[in-house]
């Protein structure tokens, strides 16, 4: 949850102020000035230091799936502010306008290196990719579609956690998505989770942690509680690299760290390995 306090992603906007809008980017890690075209060409990875910039959902889809193979599902689902939470409807509208998305996840059928999959990609720009009813429903429908199609499901995760504005309904999305994964699992089908910066809270404690294979992008932050909460609760200094992908791999919690440029190939070969046997 503490992730909402972190400014590392938003701070990009501030540093850009003295440069022509949208044309040049400064790498927050090594300070290199990178041209927009360069960044695009390198999958939004700093060519100097390999820092992974955040990526929007559509960009990730374009990068990962076979050209023209993506068929979006449930594109129109949107929140109805079930608790009538103050200022939530306005917030949703503002983010919809800003991102062009209805909510924080894009789902659909696609092919990766010719293998059919159902895919979900979370977009951190939309209210910290927090999970409310819409995200939970779309992810659940995606998993159910994969079960029906007898194919793998690939979820590219990023999230600040469960969406507070929808209260208990957000918590129940953790149960709902995990229930759908139980059936997909029982059908003998593969689920690959890809954790990107940052994946925290209720999303980590539900579908993000349940992959048959879990990949993580380099240096991305992965955790249940935010680092601030951990620090405040334990009154301990956090170990170096705490809650990074590398830390998670060292502790045996993710299978592999995959640089963005290799993600498509790695996903493609894994879904092939894990195809159900033909009877």
């Amino acid at each position: 949850m503490g992730i909402f306090k972190r400014r590392s992603i938003k701070s990009l906007g501030k540093k850009k102020r003295d440069m022509p809008e949208g044309l040049w980017h400064k790498c927050p890690d090594c300070g290199a000035i990178i041209h927009e075209a360069d960044l695009q060409q390198h999958y939004h990875v700093c060519p100097k230091c390999n820092h992974h910039f955040p990526m929007v959902a559509q960009g990730r889809i374009n990068m990962l799936v076979d050209p023209g193979s993506f068929e979006e599902m449930d594109a129109k689902l949107e929140s109805v502010n079930p608790l009538e939470f103050k200022a939530y409807s306005e917030k949703i509208k503002a983010y919809q306008k800003k991102t062009g998305l209805k909510d924080a996840v894009v789902t659909g059928r696609a092919k990766i290196l010719e293998t059919p999959v159902v895919m979900g990609v979370m977009d951190f720009r939309f209210l910290g990719a927090s999970m409310g009813s819409v995200v939970g429903e779309k992810v659940t429908r995606a998993i159910e579609a994969a079960t029906a199609d007898r194919c793998a499901v690939v979820l590219i995760c990023a999230s600040g956690g469960a969406r507070m504005h929808e209260g208990i309904l957000s918590l129940m999305q953790m149960a709902k998505t995990s229930a759908a994964l139980a059936r997909h699992h029982d059908a003998g089908l593969a689920y690959i989770g890809v954790l990107t910066h940052p994946t925290t809270g209720g999303v980590t404690a539900s579908f993000a942690a349940l992959g048959d294979v879990i990949m993580a992008e380099p240096k991305c932050m992965i955790g249940f509680a935010g680092p601030r909460v951990v620090k405040e609760t334990t009154h301990q200094n956090l170990p170096p690299g705490f809650q990074t992908a590398e830390f998670m791999k060292k502790h045996g919690l993710v299978d592999m760290i995959v640089a963005r440029g290799d993600l498509r190939d790695r996903l493609g070969s894994l879904v092939k390995y894990m195809e159900p046997a033909v009877v």
């Binding site: 949107e78 009813s133 208990i168 309904l169 129940m172 995990s178 404690a205």
Partner: protein, 318 residues
């Protein structure tokens, strides 16, 4: 046991003290004080009615956290014939914040797991304030799987401020421990009844909360985040916790309205801590009733209904 009053109950306690004083002083004198006593008694019952009928969500949160409230082991005492505790997750340790084991409910064998809080510092050191580590969730699932293996129903008692957000918990993958329980409880073939007895704190609560019936005590709460946490994130200040408690609709009545829980178990006036025996009796009756209903279903029907129960949560359009 002397009941510790909460802040909003202090005016009532003050009046009760005055009443006791007056009764003491007038004892043996016979006349004169009756009118005064009657007046105060009337005032007390009026005040109690007003306070307890109109409990705000935030006041219920205070009651749910009361240290004298019955905890999991108290319900094991009051509702069950015996309890045989099992220990350890078979990998790394045992977690005293999550007792689990075999029990008998009116002679019928079952499995009980639950969060356990402590009443004082010493107990809380052992119980970690009811915040379980990954070991606790893994032990809970291990014992629930024993129930599954031997065809015994499962009762879980939810009472946690949240899973423990510590360094070791993160290193040992608390998120996965919870997530795995969410998935695996959905695959268990025996009836599961969960009862929120105090604090239903987020993922830590849900981690033993996938059930065919979810019951809630009248003054317990169940929420995606603590009111303080919500206030700190959305309004940058914990002092708005009271507003957050209202906005998040976390009371038993709110959740019943949203279809998230199946039944509210009433508490004695002022809260469960005023009468452990009475609330124990109510919880026991509710468990017996729901388990009897669930016993009628075969495991396919049970699992299908459990899936549908959780599948339907969420409101959206389009």
């Amino acid at each position: 046991m002397q009941v510790e009053p909460l802040e909003f109950e202090k005016p009532i306690v003050e009046l009760e003290r005055q009443l006791a004083d007056l009764k003491d002083r007038s004892a043996g004198q016979g006349v004169g004080a009756e009118k005064e006593i009657e007046k105060i008694e009337e005032k007390i019952s009026k005040m109690k009615y007003e306070v307890y009928q109109g409990l705000t969500p935030w006041q219920r949160v205070q009651i749910a956290r009361h240290t004298q409230r019955p905890f999991t082991l108290d319900y094991l005492d009051h509702c069950f014939d015996d309890f045989l505790e099992l220990h350890g997750d078979r990998h790394i340790g045992d977690d005293d914040a999550m007792p689990a084991g075999f029990a008998r409910l009116e002679g019928r064998r079952c499995v009980v797991v639950g969060h356990q809080k402590g009443r004082d510092t010493k107990e809380n050191l052992l119980r970690n304030f009811g915040s379980a580590h990954p070991e606790g969730y893994r032990k809970a699932l291990r014992v629930m799987r024993l129930a599954d293996k031997f065809g015994k129903p499962i009762v879980t008692f939810i009472d946690t401020p949240g899973a423990y957000p510590g360094i070791g918990a993160e290193e040992r993958n608390i998120a996965e421990a919870i997530a795995f329980n969410l998935r695996e409880m959905m695959r268990i073939k025996v009836p599961i009844v969960a009862v929120v007895i105090g604090e239903g704190g987020s993922g830590g609560a849900l981690g033993i909360g996938i059930a065919d019936r979810v019951l809630m005590l009248e003054n317990s709460y169940y929420s995606v985040i603590s009111p303080e946490g919500c206030a700190a994130i959305l309004w940058k200040d914990r002092k708005f916790a009271e507003d957050a408690a209202t906005a998040m609709r976390l009371t038993a009545r709110d959740l019943e309205g949203m279809g998230v829980i199946d039944e509210i178990i009433p508490e004695p006036l002022g809260g469960a801590h005023h009468d452990h025996i009475a609330v124990g009796r109510s919880v026991k009756a509710a468990l017996i009733k729901h388990l009897a209903e669930l016993r009628e279903m075969d495991s396919d029907e049970l699992m299908q209904k459990r899936y549908e129960k959780f599948r339907k949560f969420g409101e959206f359009r389009g």
